[in-house]
Amino acid sequence: MVTVEFMGIFRDMTGTGEIQLDVSGIINVLDLVEELGKRFPLIHQYLKTFWCDTYKVSLYSSIAIVKDGQICKISDPVEDNDRIIIILPCTGG
């Protein structure tokens, strides 16, 4: 299981601050995001706004996935007992 924590507007989209997720079938961060999109229609709708042929590229401007203080890329693995935070990507002060 992984723990996924939602911050900011993602908390509004999911109606919760945190969920536990079974990692079977989830190999990497992109799999995780797609799974979240399936479970939470508002997340899917939000990401779909940026969905295009190169959606994977646009993904990084709309959502940031943080694990152990590091920003993850979509190819980064997701492993059992990970704690993942979903935030808005920052752009500076």
């Binding site: 401007s61 920003i71 002060g93």
Partner: protein, 615 residues
């Protein structure tokens, strides 16, 4: 005539009262656009190396951009620029609200203030009529009070930009405040205004702004607005303000706590916009043409501060007056923000100056009798209020603190220097814990304009710049991101639009379509970035003229120390910082060892005239 511009600007000599109306140089505008860009060119041409920041020969420039005052989203924006008393370098700050839009509607694209008035004055610009007026009656008033007095005199449709006691006393980080809390914060521009004995600028007018191709302009604006509203940042700002980022930033270790001595701040949820919007009364206070509507006037409805009204603080104000000074009460942070704004003080510099003193006091490096008998302890909000007044009036210990964080550290002594949080020549960064936000760290460390020069791509991509993935902690990625995003940011800062409205996914493409249809120009994205690069290089040459060296592109020892707790524990940029810097210089066409633009780089940008400053 070019669309977007009124076509003329003011030069006001405050010494002899001469007011000149000059026609815009359209060729120069095509190279520098407006706002920060055009201000950089004028300062480069006219402020030579011996001109001290608070001398009468420094210029103070208020500059709109072509989009200012139009229906483009977030177009209340304007820039103010000068040689900074805090850094000694070029500084450009920006603010939103309505002042910028109204300046243009009052009949002018820009005001250049020269020299120094013998007596305190304010400038009134009303439908192209310009008057210098006696300001004795409003001297000593805070910025909010000044605005109230002048709006009572000239009507609620008048807009006011003013300095408070901090600017009057030339505090090196004094700010200029307009529209009840929109702050031109960085680099001490309020001090430059105070050095000219200029208390306020009042603008009022309803002049129409010409548009070259109205249908295409409105179409571009419609797409841009939709893009901005649908972006994650747009949704966040609309719903929770910038405070809506507080909890996220704390989770990722980006909120500064107690002068970066820790990352622990258990009360972070109280400071988040979600709590503020639920707990306090909020009233709309929208900037000109802003579809995000994030600015609010808030009222505290119970408790010690029941009835207290103020502008809802931004994330940085909350971080500055909450965790960074060890204060865990959000209402106290709201009150301190309002106080800093009214006194006309930059929260960035003042929080890191005060938090330095707090840490020094805790460690015994400075004693009570050196601090006017004050026990400057973490979280003591009443003492912080006293210190802010002392800073603003240069009273007692305020005389030291008013010169900023590095000078304060030097006054305390060598024990304090490793604790101080600053970048470049000693001004404080934006209110983040930069130790795990390397993109933001670097964009401030190499900035040529006393603030954040580029866009932090640590956590996000920028497809319009060809950056497809977040750069994270990569030494090549961070350098490349800065070299690409810096020009974009400087171009944006010249347009006259709010930073937050430029963060949508369409990027520069839709902004340039709006600009082209407004003005009649025909820029491409590449040409826009070329202009941004020109502006950065010109700022750089100005700074080299005023003594900038490669050592100035740096951060303080405290920022290089790894966090001892929190998500960034053990992480530091120290080992790769110099490599990032050299990579960045290479990317910019600058000499890798000195950070000086190469002559061929300047020639390529049409800045051959600046080469002499490199010799």
């Amino acid at each position: 005539m070019l669309g977007g511009y009124i076509g003329k600007y003011l030069r006001v000599n405050l010494k002899n009262g001469e007011i000149k109306v000059n026609q815009n140089d359209q060729d120069m505008l095509k190279e520098y656009i407006g706002g920060t860009g055009i201000a950089a060119r004028i300062l480069f041409d006219e402020v030579s190396e011996e001109v001290e920041p608070l001398s009468e020969r420094n210029l103070l420039i208020f500059a709109t951009g072509p989009l200012t005052g139009t229906s483009a989203p977030g177009s209340g924006n304007y820039s103010v620029a000068a040689r900074s008393p805090l850094s000694g370098f070029f500084v450009a700050g920006q603010a939103n609200g309505h002042f910028g839009a109204t300046l243009k509607k009052a009949g002018f694209d820009m005001i250049v203030f020269e020299s120094r008035s013998p007596d305190p004055v304010y400038l009134l610009v009303e439908n192209e009529k310009v008057t210098i007026l006696d300001a004795k009656q409003i001297m000593g008033l805070g910025t909010l009070e000044t605005e109230q007095v002048l709006k009572k005199k000239y009507g609620t449709e008048a807009r006011v930009a003013s300095i408070g006691p901090a600017g009057e006393n030339m505090v090196h980080f004094a700010a200029i405040v307009c529209d009840e809390g929109h702050v031109v914060a960085s680099g001490g521009l309020g001090a430059v205004m105070g050095s000219k004995n200029l208390k306020a600028v009042v603008v009022k007018g309803n002049k129409k702004i010409p548009i070259a191709d109205k249908d295409n302009f409105l179409q571009a604006v419609k797409e841009w607005t939709k893009d901005a509203i649908n972006s994650g940042l747009g949704k966040t700002l609309t719903t929770y303000g910038t405070a809506g980022l507080f909890a996220s930033y704390h989770k990722t270790g980006w909120v500064p706590v107690k002068n970066l001595t820790t990352n622990k701040f258990p009360e972070f949820e109280n400071f988040d916009g979600r709590n503020l919007r639920q707990s306090y009364e909020m009233k709309k206070n929208r900037c000109h043409a802003c579809p995000l509507d994030h600015c609010k006037q808030m009222t505290i409805t119970s408790g010690l501060y029941k009835g207290f009204k103020a502008e809802e603080p931004e994330y940085e104000d909350l971080a500055a007056w909450g965790p960074n000074i060890g204060n865990n009460n959000v209402e106290e942070a709201v009150v301190l923000t309002a106080l800093a704004d009214n006194l006309g003080i930059d929260s960035k510099e003042s929080t890191f100056t005060i938090s330095l003193v707090m840490e020094c006091y805790e460690k015994g490096f400075v004693k009570k009798d050196q601090l006017d008998g004050l026990e400057v302890k973490w979280g003591d909000v009443e003492v912080v209020k006293k210190l802010l007044y002392k800073i603003a009036t240069r009273d007692g210990i305020g005389k030291v603190l008013a010169d900023g964080v590095l000078r304060t550290a030097k006054w305390v002594g060598e024990d304090a220097l490793p604790l101080a949080v600053y970048v470049k020549r000693g001004y404080a960064p934006h209110v983040h814990d930069l130790r795990t936000r390397w993109g933001t760290l670097f964009t401030q460390a190499i900035s040529n304009m006393c603030s954040q020069e580029g866009i932090d791509l640590t956590t996000r991509s920028s497809p319009d710049l060809g950056i497809q993935e977040p750069v994270g902690f990569s030494e090549t990625g961070i350098a490349a991101a800065q070299a690409k995003s810096g020009p974009k940011r400087q171009f944006e800062d010249s347009l006259g639009v709010c930073y937050f409205l430029c963060r949508g996914d369409s990027g520069l493409e839709v902004m340039i379509r709006a600009l082209n249809s407004l003005t009649g120009w025909d820029f491409t994205v590449e040409e826009a970035l070329h202009i941004g690069l020109r502006i950065i290089n010109l700022q750089r040459c100005f700074n080299i003229r005023h003594g900038h060296t490669v050592e100035d592109d740096s951060v303080s020892a405290r920022i290089l120390q790894p966090p001892i707790d929190g998500p960034g524990t053990g992480k530091t940029i120290a080992d790769i910082y110099e490599t990032i810097k050299r990579n960045y210089y290479n990317n910019m066409g600058w000499q890798p060892s000195t950070g000086r633009p190469l002559p061929e780089t300047l020639e390529r940008l049409g800045l051959g005239f600046a080469i002499r400053d490199l010799r």
